[in-house]
């Protein structure tokens, strides 16, 4: 029972196994090096990620998920151009697991490349590192022909929460790809300016329902009383998902004018929507809306019931 506790071999010894002529032995060396969780192994993994055997390279790309910092990032960025998709994929996933902002030093230079996969992966990797110097390249990437690239670029910009990016987000909100438009609208949520609000309000009439939903949802976070009339119009949207977000935002904005229209939505047989309407009616607490809620005092859905009772109490209290 000499190896009761989990223990790992000496790093230098394991690194020697990386020189083995047998690919299987090199894979095992990568696995054991990773298990040490010691940052000293990063250079060895960086070598292994350029091995001649695809499985060794893939294992090294997976292994680097467990490490951080600029040399880890550099090794992963290199592997994004591997000839095998599996290695490229593994490296891309590991890139998004980085936490150390300094790791960005190895990613920023690649934000200027044209290759779609490399660019998407690098943008996804830099996003959570929140590097201010990623802003320029991200805005530049909005011109890329690939919608996936433009999407990731918008995400990077949104995470930076910098108001100088508004013009860029505005043009992304007019992108011809719906996913890019959605991303741009949600990215605007950090900014409570008229400018941002105008962009969001304009999107409430977008042809794609998920874009309308995203705009309505973001207004919950950042909208002002000015967008109420447009949100009221949205209560006629054919998608309940869109109406639900509009109701939530109207409640948040204290849009008492909308109370009756929200009350009328209570008859819709989608409990998700009823729940939201009851909550909004409680927030608004307009006295003659109690009639919309009363029939649902004993609603079968406990959540609806709870919201209805709470709302009725609020209304009674205000009256």
């Amino acid at each position: 029972m000499n190896n009761l506790f989990e223990d790992f071999n000496d790093i230098e010894m394991l690194a020697e196994d990386l020189q083995s002529t047998d690919a299987g032995e090199r894979i095992m060396a990568v696995i054991e090096l990773t298990d040490t969780a010691d940052p000293e192994v990063i250079p060895h993994l960086a070598t292994a990620i350029r091995d001649q055997d695809i499985n060794v390279r893939k294992q090294a790309a997976i292994a680097l998920t467990d490490f951080d910092g600029v040399s880890t990032a550099a090794a992963l960025v290199g592997a994004l151009s591997d000839e095998h998709a599996e290695v490229r994929q593994a490296a891309a996933v590991s890139l998004t697991e980085l936490k150390d902002p300094d790791a960005g030093d190895a990613i920023i230079p690649s934000l200027g490349v044209d290759d779609e996969f490399v660019l998407v992966s690098c943008l996804a990797g830099i996003k959570e590192l929140r590097r201010a110097d990623a802003m320029g390249p991200a805005i530049e990437a909005l011109k890329h022909h690939s919608a996936s690239v433009r999407c990731e670029a918008v995400n990077v910009i949104g995470w930076l929460q910098d108001k100088t990016s508004l013009p860029a987000l505005r043009s992304a909100a007019g992108d011809n790809d719906a996913l890019v438009r959605r991303a741009a609208l949600t990215a605007l949520g950090f900014n409570k300016s008229d400018h941002a609000e105008q962009i969001l309000v304009a999107a409430l009439t977008d042809s794609d329902w998920q874009v309308r939903e995203a705009a309505a949802e973001t207004l919950t976070k950042s909208g002002s009383a000015g967008c109420v009339p447009s949100l009221i119009k949205l209560l006629e949207d054919e998608y309940w998902q869109v109406r639900l977000k509009a109701v939530r935002t109207l409640g948040k904005l204290d849009a008492r004018d909308a109370a009756t229209l929200i009350g009328e939505q209570m008859t819709v047989p989608v409990p998700n929507l009823r729940k939201e309407c009851a909550a909004a009616l409680g927030v608004l607490a307009v006295s003659d809306t109690a009639k919309f809620l009363e029939p649902y005092y004993d609603d079968n859905d406990p959540d609806v019931r709870k919201n209805v009772r709470w709302a009725l109490e609020k209304i009674a209290h205000t009256a």
Binding site: D22, A23, G24, M28, K58
Partner: protein, 80 residues
């Protein structure tokens, strides 16, 4: 009470051409929460992993963590 053996079809299959148990790999054996995989000697003297006990939660770590993609998890026959 005396014992009899009865056959059972097992859900996890290992491709022994890809398996590198020969090189000391035991990854799938180690990660299995039910401890049902083992390394065995083949007729040609090489080693491979295989499913020794039909006691599988079809949870997949063995397949996900195998460095050579040798493991395939199917659903146990009784519930598929």
């Amino acid at each position: 009470m005396p014992l009899a053996q009865s056959s059972t079809s097992v859900p996890v299959v290992v491709n022994d051409d890809l398996c590198i148990a020969d090189k000391g790999c035991t990854v799938c054996v180690e990660v299995c929460p039910l401890d049902v995989l083992r390394i065995t000697d083949m007729a040609d003297g090489r080693k491979t992993a295989h499913m020794e006990y039909d006691e599988c939660w079809y949870c997949m770590p063995c397949e996900a963590d195998c460095p050579t993609g040798a493991v395939k998890v199917n659903l146990p026959y009784l519930l598929k």
